[in-house]
């Protein structure tokens, strides 16, 4: 990735969901659950993001069963690196926020 860019909330939760293989609907459900119902990925947004993240090589589509039309995706090594870097970036944001607001 272009290093230093922030991920969108949608990309972040998609990557996080795909640490284990999941299909589209599974990503939507997990994201909603993890964020306590705050983040709802809409289907069109998710579809576009999955294509974009695949094109970046951060996730891959798993070979699907013949009887199942559901496509499963999983994080790649590259995606895992991006995700870890993003967690670090978010930690910095949160730490600074807490520190400065804590002094007030």
């Amino acid at each position: 990735m272009a290093e230093g860019f922030a991920l969108t909330e949608a990309s972040y939760y998609i990557l996080l969901s795909l640490v284990r293989p999941r299909h589209g609907y599974g990503i939507m459900q997990l994201t909603e659950e993890l964020s306590g119902g705050r983040v709802r990925l809409a289907a069109g947004t998710l579809y576009g993001a999955l294509n974009a993240l695949s094109a970046k090589g951060w996730i891959i589509q798993l070979p699907s069963d013949e009887d199942s039309r559901r496509k499963e995706y999983r994080l790649t090594e590259k995606g895992l690196k991006v995700l870890r870097a993003e967690v670090e970036r978010l930690r910095e944001l949160a730490d600074n926020g807490e520190r400065i607001l804590g002094e007030e």
């Binding site: 589209g24 709802r40 809409a42 289907a43 069109g44 559901r70």
Partner: protein
Amino acid sequence: MESRKTIKKWFWIWDFEKEEDWLNEMAMNGWVLESVGFCTYHFVRCEPGEYSVRLEMHPYDEAYLSFMKETGAEYIGRMVMWIYFRKKTADGAFDLFSDIDSRISHLDKIGKWLSAVGGANLLIGVVNTYNPSRLGWINLLCATLLMYALGRIHGKKEALKRERLLHE
């Protein structure tokens, strides 16, 4: 009581959100979209508020339709480049776009289509102006209208971009 009805209605392309609002209003009043034609909407009776309806510009894409089905949305039909979906409100909130970026790329898609069709009309219009048939003005009129639509879509996009400077 009748169980089906057809309404003829015209929406400008930049009013696609109004079209969607109207379809949801119909669903709130117990009429859900069943199929679409050119400026023609076929409705069937439903429980008031039983469905939410969404529409978007999307080129034909089998993979997208099966993806939507997987998320519980039902494909109603397509009209030119526009596709229509519905989902039961009991099955949860139904939106196609949940962030500014994807709304912008949707407007981009509409913009590209308008540029392509508008450009083609402009070209045909200019060529036909020098033809004995003298029908070039029809294409030039279409091109003007399409370019106007492109301007409206561009305006919407710019508004979203300003918003994105502050948040997603």
